[in-house]
Symmetry: C2
Subunit: 614 residues, 2 copies
């Protein structure tokens, strides 16, 4: 049943992924880590997600015909949101369709803001006149005349006269916010890079950006090595206090991975680390504290107070981040103890506060952060949704890596796709949602979450599916998702009653959070103009399935639900490219009202209610 997958290759990146037949191209791009414009939320109306099919061409859809002319259709132009993959395909994604080069997530009805590339780092090539007896002003003054007043550190001050002399008073000054951080021989103004990092509890993504034009040049990701100390932030906080070296150990562990990612990025496009002058980090409050080596213990106990909340500009060196030896690290501002810089970055990138109607953003990572924007007001909350969607506490749960079942559809039997096109070893969050939705639809799970036994199943179920329900040795009902071809028991993937309870808890947490937030804002779910799904995980979720299980509000037309991809990373890139964006991030973090859900007297009640499937 698996193994039916088809390869699709994207140009110019050359990345390819395997998908089930019928998968939309836009879904496949998300799988490949490529983010495409979908202002209309994939409704086929905006025509922004155009791609050129160069192999595996199929008939254009009606939507394609509305958007493209005859010649374009002949050339293979299609809308990625309307085109399903049926056979091996090669698709070219033009620059204009990629989100990454726009420095912001473009979503429908958002205020248009000019794309700006005004990073705090800039380089100036200077040719100074060498000093003479008639003009023997200080070396630094001489440089100032060319590049304006600046400050510098003692170390560079000590070296600068030598460098100026050695380079014959010609070279490239590197400045960040009026601080001279380097002076390089020759004209290196076109070698100016930064790295944006999304430091997730589970996954970390790094994006190397050209600070001259804002283009993303390389991207890489790694699992956060701290997972070996615990799945969620609370267990990391706990670990950090468990011994005197534990905080250092956690901090060191994440940095080791960051160093590797920097190396990988530099290797990909063959640049020198010294030409990376800034790194921007967006992470949740605990991740940012650990990255900075700040004790997160106060985040783990009432009243959950973070050390800092404003954005920080630190010396990368001091932080142990091996970019230019006088490079800077920008750490995103925080909203509160459990709503961190990743959320701020997401709010920044989606221009959430600039939206007209009420917009809800849900970032389904290891924590489920929800943000509501209404007429420029912002509310944010964090829910302990995470572990289930990331595979933890689910019997065969696993993260979205090789071997994970990541999509499930029912027809006459179960159909699924496995990441890496290998035999399935587990199930990740997106497939868990699919499965629960399919089972709810077909009546195999009741609205209270009961997994019906072999004798309780509705009659109209396809036989192949109903046969998958059985009682295990303990008398508990289970659903057999997959079994390796050889029929080996040790290669089975199964869904249990307990797994459904875990899913209910996770869904309930987010759903209750959303409800309370809507109440605070004085609106109802139906008033929501748009729901944005953010996070790498979010991109893989099937919207209607998420609505069926209640993870996303059912009152909303599924076309109003849009994927914004890794908005935290996009925000981090934006902060790298624009000092104004940093100021805006600071403002957003300060103006966002932090809702402590646990403080709300209705939370437990809402939570209990929300665990019932719609």
């Amino acid at each position: 049943m698996d193994g039916q997958q088809i390869r699709i290759t994207f140009q110019p990146s050359g990345r390819s992924v395997f998908v089930l037949p019928g998968t939309k191209i836009i879904e496949a791009t998300a799988r490949a880590g490529l983010t495409i414009n979908t202002p209309c939320g994939g409704a086929g109306t905006c025509g922004k997600c155009h791609v050129k099919i160069t192999a595996g061409v199929k008939e254009p859809s009606e939507a394609d015909k509305n958007v493209f002319n005859e010649e374009q259709l002949q050339d293979g132009w299609r809308l990625a949101c309307q085109t399903s993959i049926q056979n091996e395909t090669v698709a070219y994604i033009p620059e204009s369709s990629r989100l990454i080069n726009q420095h912001k997530i473009v979503i429908e009805s958002q205020t248009e803001e000019p794309t700006e590339v005004l990073p705090s780092v800039h380089k100036v090539y200077v040719e100074l006149t060498a000093p003479t007896m008639e003009d023997n002003s200080a070396d630094l003054l001489r440089l100032e005349e060319a590049i304006g007043t600046f400050k510098t550190d003692l170390n560079l001050l000590r070296n600068l006269p030598k460098l100026l002399h050695q380079y014959d008073y010609k070279g490239t000054a590197v400045l960040t916010d009026h601080h001279l951080i380097d002076f390089e021989p020759g004209d290196t103004t076109n070698q100016c890079y930064g790295i944006a990092f999304d430091i997730g509890t589970t996954t970390m993504v790094g994006s190397l950006v050209n600070l001259c034009d804002g283009n993303e040049l390389a991207i890489t990701s790694q699992m956060n090595p701290q997972v070996s100390f615990g799945d969620d932030v609370l267990s990391r906080i706990e670990h950090s206090s468990s011994c005197s070296r534990c905080l250092d150990e956690l901090s060191h562990s994440v940095k080791t991975s960051i160093v590797e990612m920097i190396d990988q990025l530099c290797e990909q496009i063959d640049i020198n680390r010294e030409h990376i002058y800034e790194a921007a980090f967006a992470g949740n409050t605990t991740m940012e504290h650990l990255l900075c080596g700040i004790d997160p213990a106060p985040l783990g106990a009432v009243p959950f107070v973070p050390a800092h909340a404003r954005g920080l500009i630190l010396n990368a060196n001091e932080l142990g981040i091996p970019i230019n030896h006088r490079g800077k690290a920008y750490i995103f501002p925080l909203i509160g103890g459990f709503v961190g810089g990743d959320t701020v970055a997401g709010v920044l990138a989606t221009n959430l506060s600039g939206q007209q109607g009420p917009v809800l953003m849900i970032d389904i990572g290891t924590n489920g952060e929800i943000v509501l924007a209404k007429d420029g007001q912002l509310w944010a909350a964090s829910t302990a949704a995470g572990p289930a969607f990331e595979g933890a506490r689910i019997t065969y749960g696993m993260r979205a890596t090789t071997g994970a079942i990541e999509k499930i559809v029912f027809d006459d039997d179960i159909r699924y796709s496995v990441i890496g096109n290998v035999p399935a070893v587990g199930i990740c969050g997106s497939a868990l949602i699919d499965l629960a939705a399919e089972m709810l639809k077909s009546g195999m799970i009741t609205s209270t979450g009961q997994l019906l036994g072999p004798n309780q199943l509705p009659g109209q179920l396809p036989k192949a599916i109903s046969q998958r329900i059985y009682k295990n040795a303990d008398g508990q009902v289970e659903f057999l998702i997959s079994q390796a071809d050889q029929g080996r028991k040790d290669l089975r993937v199964v869904l249990t009653q307990r797994d459904i309870r875990e899913l209910q808890l996770a869904v309930g947490a987010i759903r209750a959070g959303v409800k309370i937030m809507l109440k605070k804002a004085g609106i109802e779910a139906k008033d929501i103009n748009q729901v944005l799904i953010a996070g790498g995980f979010g991109s893989f979720i099937r919207r209607t399935n998420a609505q069926i299980i209640g993870l996303l509000p059912t009152e909303i037309d599924h076309e109003k639900i849009n994927y914004v991809g890794n908005a935290s990373l996009a925000g981090a890139k934006w902060a790298l490219l624009s000092s104004n964006a940093r100021r805006r991030a600071e403002e957003l973090a300060r103006k966002t009202k932090h809702l402590e859900l646990s403080l709300d007297t209705n939370f437990q009640m809402e939570f209990a209610d929300a665990m019932i499937f719609p």
Copy 2:
């Protein structure tokens, strides 16, 4: 002949010095390192230098009677500039007479500026409300609400939450220019200190200042230990390049001494180093480079380019200065390769640019820096005057330390005073000037500097004096200044023809410099409204004697020549107490025209002329 000295003790400091009978009290205060107001230049007219004689009272002078009423005279109040010391004396110097507490040198006709104590360091005691679930904003935000926005370093950021918690959210925030540098338990707002340093080529002086009220609390001085590497800046520069560790060695050597001085100052008034938050350093360009560990080699070769010219604010820690671990070091701005931060500090403290008529300041240290102010314009130059006045290159020359003859007068024989009241072992600069002046007056030296032989001496000379001229074994004429009581040859102090030539070179350098500077400014010596003598050394010079040998312009009434003491130190203190003073120092340094005397085509001619005694 020596040994006739009298002790005078100053209250409240308790310092005492030995002086020749007839020495003015104001001269003795300078010897004791205490600086007194002399707006009128010691003419007895301004009444600002009042002291109270509590032992050794003598008859009031006419000037005293004009200034003080009967009761005050009875109480012992006298003008320090009019009172000669005749017997063992104790004098009380009131705060109001001391220059040090006014943060600037008050000189006649200067623009009055308000005394301000607005240091860049300030402390704020805060009592924050502890966080609760209803108010759980970040620790730093909580502090910001009380003290305004600030930046801080990673290290303090890591510790602050712990400190706040430990101190029950009460304590004293220490800020410098919106940077939080410490958070201390309890209310320590009244414990806020800084140290001003004058880093001379030969002598270093440190003054511990209370940053709350601007009062000087302790003062100390040491010889610059770099003297073991050479007497003047050029030999230090040369040494710094002579081996790979030599720069470090020089830098380390001066810092070792600074550390000792800090310890001494802290001991004197029993305070903790951690409560010293800033140190301000004024030194010549080479000294500042060496202090900062900046290679001074470019200062030793054409075109004599300094590394920096603007004032620097560095981390004291990074510089190796053991004050508060996040304290700052302010390094004075420089004018050019040989006119440094000490001159800027002097110009600042004397408000030179605010003077109406042309004012000339001469700082006779190891270098002779001269500054001319005219209608807000400033010119500065450095002359290689130094070594002779500091004792170098003079046969029996020595610095003004124990055993040095420091003052000479002729009557029927030579009279002199020796520092420390011990047998004379050499002669220091001030006595060299006295001696040359007396010998010129009595015709023993011709205007071309020839020391007349025993047979060429004018007839009216006292016999005791003419007998001191003799020819040595090589047939060279010499003058016997002193010989120990026992008549031992190895305890003789002698002046040779070569010594007079060295003096001529030193005097000629300053004199030629002044001439060229006056020409640049389009004025003549007689136009000068005032001459200020700065520098510890300068305070000991007898004005008229300095005029006789041509060191000071002869065209000027000697009452227009005023001592301003260690103006560099006063300027450094001022910079410690006022951020505005720093800005002014920066402006002064930038607006001062640096004259490279060696570039002036007339310099050699003027120099040759200037070597002829007037």
